[in-house]
Amino acid sequence: MAKVLMKGNEALAEAAIQAGCRHYFGYPITPQNEVTAYMAKRMPKVGGVFLQAESEVSAINMVYGAGGAGARVLITSSSPGISLMQEGISYIAGAEIPCVIANVMRGGPGLGGIQPSQSDYFQSTKGGGHGDYKLIVLAPSTIQEMADLVQQAFDIADKYRNPVMILGDGMLGQMMEPVDFDNIKKGENHIEEKTWATTGMGTRKKKNIINSLELDPQMLEKHNIELFKKYEKASKEEVRYEMTNCEDAEIILVAYGTIARVAKNVIELAKRENINVGLIRPISLWPFPVEPFEKTVNYVKRYLSIEMSMGQMVEDVKLAVNGRKPVYFYGRAGGMVPEPAAILEEIRKISGGAK
């Protein structure tokens, strides 16, 4: 199979199928409707299950059941729908059920709009549901990377018995780019047998229970500590990022997903004005990559976080920089995408007197 021209939403669906996902539960919401349409068409052809649920609330609980029964499961939605799923996501994390959740973000709050946005960063990375838990959050910036990360996401979910979120936005979902499925860097795919899954006891002596309830506070704390050991391991092993032109940069932009593509263009524009600009692109939003900041903090003059939100990731940038260098923010919200010229203007502004 050569390169195929695909929408991001379609690539997301196809990548899941190629990763061995045979169960998809969803509910229509713009701008991710291509995923449900694609799955409705493809799943019956590969012997899989596509089920349109009566709500996102129901869909995420179907994922709980199917994932707990041992299947590789995908669920996708967009911001308001993901909000509805938060209860279920908390239960899934608590019961340690692997699954992949994709959020094709749109502007909020409330019903908001249907244009691309990155305003669910907090919800995704800081625990949108109740209780102490973490999602592993991966943010692609190209359609090819969407396909790559979706495949890896299933392996990571199985490895940690934890939900993994693909955080995209309406732009990535809707735009078309060539995708090469043959050369996808497939994960190890060492899926350990899911001996914990509820498959019916068969000849197994001990019954399996999928559960997040623990009334004994000592036992629940023990469970919390065990979960955080897992997150600790993930925060060492699942860090992903890309650095562009950071070597001699005086200003480093920090951007993920769609807006990181725009930021890359800004590097060239700035060069023409003799401003040396670099880019740190977090690919894993949780665990947030601290390493590229450690590598650059000694020589860079300032960081500028660029987001399609009113400023969310900038808080993690500040934590990583930890006061050692100034951190600035520039963003557009509500479905507006910052333009290169506007970012350049912001760069001029913050480098102002110093230049």
């Binding site: 169960h23 089920l51 129901s58 179907m62 709980y64 059941g65 707990g68 229970i209």
Partner: protein
């Protein structure tokens, strides 16, 4: 010595936490006995609710999942779609099934999801201490209807069997009770029919069991059983509301 009675293999040895006189224990045993008699314990996967039966996952001797409040039919759907050849059931109370989880219940039935639902209707929220349930009777005093349930403020009790039997996806719907031996035996037969419908791939089946809650009704166990018969049964008539098993028999 001849063994004259043995506990069903469908239950674990974990002691029930239910209040004295509560009929959850009876219904647990009936479900477990039915699964044992049908020989499906090794391929059964149950889903426990949030409510008094939250620990059902400890009691049934088969694989179990514990669902979020009201979501058991969605969770069961996920399990069944992964393992269509297994026997999948939920065990839910009235708040779980007929209030917060109404949508999940109705749509599982509408899809003809091939699962069995055991629905305990005791007209009250037991675990949280006796609040009004969607099935509380008119005039019934609860923590949240201290002057009695009034239609003007609280609306009317929900009749789930009647509602669900209008859906084409429902295969077997029956309302039973367990207030005396005769009715316990009838309830067991009904539960067996429901599981049989699932095994025969007929679609959604549900058994509603009118049950007692002496603690939150403020009655003795005996008075509570009488209350089911005198107060609940007239509003919630017992009987078979939907039965596609018989159609098959007649056809076949």
């Amino acid at each position: 010595m001849a063994v004259v009675f043995q506990k069903t293999k469908g239950l674990t040895d974990v002691p029930f936490h239910y209040c004295p006189g509560c009929t959850h224990g009876i219904v647990h045993r009936l479900v477990a006995e039915v699964m044992e008699e049908l020989g499906v314990l090794d391929k059964a996967i149950g889903v426990a609710p949030v409510g008094c039966a939250v620990f059902a996952y400890e009691y049934f001797n088969c694989d179990m999942q514990e669902a979020a409040h009201g979501r058991a039919p969605a969770v069961a759907t996920g399990i069944k779609r992964v393992h269509p050849d297994r026997v999948v059931f939920t065990y839910q109370g009235d708040g779980d099934l007929a209030a917060i989880g109404t949508a999940e219940t109705v749509h599982a039935a509408a899809r003809g999801e091939n699962i069995t639902v055991v629905f305990i209707n005791n007209a009250i929220y037991g675990m949280t201490g006796g609040q009004m349930a969607p099935t509380s009777l008119i005039g019934q005093e609860t923590l949240t209807t201290p002057y009695g349930r009034k239609p003007g403020n609280n609306g009317y009790p929900v009749k789930m069997c009647e509602m669900l039997s209008t859906l084409d996806g429902a295969s077997y719907i029956e309302r039973v009770s367990v207030y005396d031996v005769k009715h316990v035996l009838q309830a067991k037969k009904a539960i067996k029919n429901a599981f049989t419908a699932q095994i025969n791939k007929k679609g959604f089946s549900m058994i509603e069991v009118l049950s007692s809650c002496p603690t939150n009704w403020g009655l003795s166990p005996n008075e509570a059983l009488k209350w089911i018969k005198d107060k609940m049964e007239p509003y919630y008539p017992l009987g078979v509301y939907k039965n596609t098993l018989e159609e098959v028999k007649q056809n076949g």
